[in-house]
């Protein structure tokens, strides 16, 4: 099966297209700022940037409805911004401050928003896959017609628990979309060196789970595939796999010199395939926006990102007694 590409003519409205542009740009500028703050020592530990992969979450969020759930791995800032979490709260979590989503106790890889049905941010590769299926299990049990987007990478796709989960998700018809964000490198190991199948989604066939490959540098193709997957899950037919071929421009984490690939390879992707440039061209060539309009959006995004950085710097560190809170709950938190 060929990788899904978008129709020649965009099948979305000008407003939607503009929104994708805005949402993708927010992620990119936010991540650039996070990289900057990391360099200044304001963000510590691991920090995995999403730059290059923006079309994946923006396209799929466009296919989601209110109440649908999402859960992902440690490269999670983009997912949080795309589902509508406040950039200030995300950035302040990155700096480990009181104003962060987890009040500074989670960090880059561990953030949650029950309000936006974002169930983390998980640091153990592959572990969020059964968790996502579990969320879908709950939705099916409660008969609430929701779907769960369970994101993981090409690296996680080699974890045993992923296939344990495929089996049970198919067996029990769970409304879960397995989104494999294939950025071609599991940290420093290319897919060729780590994965027996070139198209990972085909592994679902063994479990009777349909799936397809999607051009992840094309937000319209992602949206279209997302619509199809959501319709499949919501109609009670069980899980669906989207293998979204994407590319990360930065290293695995901030400390990764990315010696495992050439500068030219990265450059070529940026120049020829960039998802934001793609939408920009569509907006201009379709006469939906002028250079001036787009410049205004850029400026607006920059202000939002700067405000989040200011907030993240100014927000105080958590009070020392926070060390001892949230270990054991007295009453059940309202998770769902």
């Amino acid at each position: 099966m060929a990788t899904r590409k978008s129709a020649k003519k965009p099948n979305v409205s000008a407003d939607e297209l503009t929104q994708y542009y805005r949402d993708m740009l927010l992620i990119r500028r936010f991540e650039e700022k996070a990289g900057q703050l990391y360099g200044m020592g304001l963000i510590g530990g691991f920090c995995h940037l999403y730059i290059g992969q923006e079309a994946v979450v923006v396209g799929l969020e466009a296919a989601a409805e209110d109440g649908d759930k999402r859960v992902t791995t440690y490269r999670d800032h983009g997912h949080m911004l795309a589902c509508g979490m406040d950039p200030k709260g995300v950035m302040a979590e990155l700096t480990g401050r009181e104003g962060g989503y987890s009040r500074g106790k989670g960090g880059s890889m561990h953030m949650f928003s029950t309000e936006k049905q974002f169930y983390g941010g998980h640091g153990i590769v592959g572990a969020n896959v059964p968790l996502g299926a579990g969320l879908a299990f709950a939705d099916k049990y409660l008969e609430n017609n929701r779907v769960t987007f369970t994101y993981f990478g090409d690296g996680a796709a080699n974890q045993g628990q992923v296939y344990e989960t495929f089996n049970m998700a198919a067996l029990w018809d769970l409304p879960v979309i397995f989104v494999i964000e294939n950025n071609q490198y599991a940290m420093g190991t290319s897919q060729k060196r780590s994965t027996s199948t070139p198209d990972i989604y085909t592994r679902g066939e063994a479990f009777g789970i349909p799936g397809e490959a999607v051009d992840g540098m094309d937000v319209l193709a992602v949206k279209e595939a997302g619509d199809k997957a959501v319709a499949h899950c919501r109609s009670g037919k069980g899980p669906y796999i989207l293998e979204i071929k994407t590319y990360r421009y930065r290293g695995h984490s901030m400390s990764d010199p990315a010696k495992y690939r050439t500068r030219e390879e990265v450059q070529k992707m940026r120049e020829e395939k960039d998802a934001i440039e793609h939408v920009r061209e569509l907006l201009i060539s379709g006469g939906h926006a002028s250079e001036e309009d787009l410049k205004a959006i850029d400026k607006e995004i920059k202000e939002v990102v700067n405000a989040s950085a200011d907030f993240a710097k100014e927000s105080p560190e958590p009070a020392t007694d926070e060390l001892w809170t949230d270990i054991i709950a007295d009453v059940a938190p309202q998770n769902a």
Partner: protein, 460 residues
């Protein structure tokens, strides 16, 4: 020569069973492999096959006899040419009592504190239910089953998943009748994929449900330990209190009998180390019931460590509509003044048996059942040691480090001036569990080790 057919052990923990039905009668000829009888074990009804050929000379134990000890002669098989008259009286005499191996099966809790009057204040041994409550006799197995059924009736979001929990009704029959009553939506057989279904359980707890995840034994939960610790225990903290995991992980823990190293391990000290978890290891049926009901209602992930050998043991359980026991409250089974014995789970069988035997020699032991290891009621232990000035801890887990070593450290810090002897930890030995019967016995702790330890700390 006539051969005695003995009551077989048909499960690792079977000590006695019911001779449900004979499928042969006196005078019948049998060949090896023929099914001779149906025997009910503590878990299931099993068919019992002949291993030799011959003629059934005499049936010694009739259909429907309950409580037939393993190795009791149940019939006599005659070789060709022999007749029933050849059976000598010795071989058909009542079987000797099943050997008491000192594993403390008869270590029932004392009815009341019948201790000598001493100057020391009496410890509170009052039960977890109001005085005058009607009691009934239940096995730990029945108590666990009732706790789940009651909670599933009470709350629609409670469901159970695990290997063989539904149609097979539990590998150890803890989920008996649940599928019938609650249906396949709430009683779910999983494939053999602990890592995967533990994670699905945690995700479901985030999605608004209250899962009970049964591990066929806790040994297999090592496949799932990442989900238990990284996903279930830490999420409340990592989310700044936004999200928690109300889930119960339960199943048999510790050594059963003769199942070897990979199937015989006590995880009490492992899980008790993890902040964010509740860890429960009950001994009696009443504690099992009251604590499991609390576990299912608790908003946190609960590790519920059962024991296969205790499943078939009977205890008094209060007849109450809604009986729960709070976490973090130890139970004093026996008031005493000379030494404090602290244990939990199956360790209590050694502790209580030792206390009985020591009493015969005038050594008066106080016996504390921790019941929950996280939170741990160290206050009750400290208070007791301030009275007795000596302490012995008892558990089947490994010694490095153990629940006992933690208690020793707490006592050193909080009751140093009250201790008249170093605390002794009776534990499982620092070896993988051997298979051979004699070595297995040595690898576990025992009543006699507890008695020796008490003599050492009391210098008597």
């Amino acid at each position: 020569m006539a051969t005695e057919i003995l009551m077989p052990a048909l499960s690792p923990t079977m000590e006695e069973g019911t001779l449900a039905k004979w499928l042969v009668k006196e005078g019948d000829t049998v060949n090896a492999g023929d099914i001779m009888a149906e025997i009910e074990t503590d878990k299931a009804t099993m068919e019992f096959e002949a291993v030799d050929e011959g003629t059934i000379g005499k049936i010694l134990i009739q259909d429907g006899t309950e409580g037939v000890k393993v190795n009791t002669p149940i019939a006599v098989l005659l070789e060709e040419g022999e007749s029933a008259d050849d059976i000598d009286t010795a071989s058909s005499a009542p079987a000797p009592e099943a050997k008491d191996d000192g594993d403390g099966d008869d270590a029932e809790a004392p009815k009341s504190a019948e201790t000598k009057a001493t100057a020391a204040p009496k410890s509170d041994t009052s039960p977890d239910w109001p005085e005058g409550t009607e009691m009934e006799n239940k096995t730990v197995r029945e108590a666990l089953n009732a706790a789940m059924a009651e909670e599933m009736r009470r709350d629609d979001t409670v469901f159970i998943m695990g290997e063989e929990v539904a149609e097979y009704e539990g590998a150890y029959k803890i989920t008996q009748n649940l599928l019938d009553e609650f249906g396949g939506k709430r009683v779910i057989d999983t494939p053999i994929t602990e890592h995967g279904f533990a994670g699905i359980g945690v995700g479901a707890s985030w999605g608004g449900l209250r899962p009970i995840v049964e591990f066929m034994t806790w040994n297999f939960a090592m496949q799932a330990i990442d989900q238990i610790i990284n996903s279930a225990a830490k999420t409340l903290y990592m989310s700044g209190g936004q999200m928690g995991s109300p889930i119960v992980f339960r199943g048999p823990n510790g050594a059963a009998a003769r199942v070897g190293a990979q199937h015989s391990q006590d995880y009490a000290a492992w899980y008790a180390q993890v902040p964010g978890l509740r860890v429960v290891q009950p001994y009696s049926a009443a504690c099992a019931k009251g604590l499991l009901k609390s576990a299912i209602r608790d908003p946190n992930p609960v590790i519920f460590l059962e024991n296969e050998i205790l499943y078939g043991k009977s205890f008094e359980v209060p007849k109450m509509d809604d009986f729960t026991i709070p976490f973090g409250k130890a139970k004093i089974w026996r008031d005493g003044s000379d030494v404090t014995i602290v244990s939990f789970g199956i360790g209590m069988t050694y502790a209580l048996e030792a206390a009985e035997k020591l009493a015969e020699d005038g050594i008066d032991a106080e016996v504390i059942d921790l019941r929950t290891l996280r939170p741990m009621d160290t206050d009750t232990v400290i208070k007791s040691v301030m009275k007795t000035n000596r302490c012995v801890t008892v558990e089947e887990g490994w010694p490095v480090p153990s629940i006992g070593s933690y208690i020793s450290s707490v006592l050193m810090q909080k009751a140093f001036d009250y201790l008249d002897a170093p605390v002794i930890n009776c534990t499982g030995k620092d070896v993988p569990m051997p298979y051979a019967a004699n070595l297995e016995k040595l690898a576990l702790t025992s009543t006699s080790e507890v008695i020796d330890a008490v003599r050492q700390v009391t210098y008597r």
